[in-house]
Symmetry: C2
Subunit: 115 residues, 2 copies
């Protein structure tokens, strides 16, 4: 199976497919630190990243933002002292697309590049 | 009355005073766009800033972050496509200190500097 983090986001319209349960089960092991949480009726992939201070947290936020812009798929990023919470979902289909799993894996990759 | 945005944050310990109701009434007119919302039992100053795209939102997040670091007082900043939600409160006193009003006014100042 191809590594998620090496995939690119695909263009995503309103009729794009939600990730099926079996596909989700297949993809999950590649992003073990992410939780699937339902907020406002929409399932979302969420992970909290911890840092030593505010400056490091903000720097990570910028990296995630640059990645998002490059892939034209944008998350919610909550920046706090020593902590960044990243949430991926696909607005147009009000749920999780394969793109979101790809972006979660790529986000993990940004962290690995730091350490 | 001195303008809030020209003040600096003061060092803030656990016994620092919460903003009194009368002081809040006095300061509020200087930050009319901010809401006081209670979350997890803690009153917080919150404002949503709107932008044309993700890049502009992220740029504003960075400015707010740099301001926060300069004043050693750190908010929660939620960055989304075209939108940044900034929340100020004082962790050590679990509520609103004058510093938070100062930082809200300074945050507004960042926006003014953009336009």
């Amino acid at each position: 199976m191809a590594e998620l983090k090496t995939e690119r986001c695909t263009a995503c319209k309103k009729d794009a497919p939600l990730v099926s349960e079996s596909e989700a089960c297949e993809l999950r092991p590649q992003i073990p630190e992410w939780q699937t949480n339902v907020r406002d009726g929409i399932p979302r992939l969420e992970r909290v990243f911890r840092f030593k201070n505010f400056v490091e947290a903000l720097a990570f936020t910028v990296k995630v933002g640059e990645l998002a812009e490059a892939e034209k798929h944008h998350p919610a990023i909550l920046t706090e002292w020593g902590m960044v919470s990243v949430t991926w979902w696909t607005h147009s289909i009000r749920g999780l697309h394969r793109n979101d799993y790809v972006m979660a894996a790529k986000t993990d990759g940004l962290l690995a590049a730091d350490s």
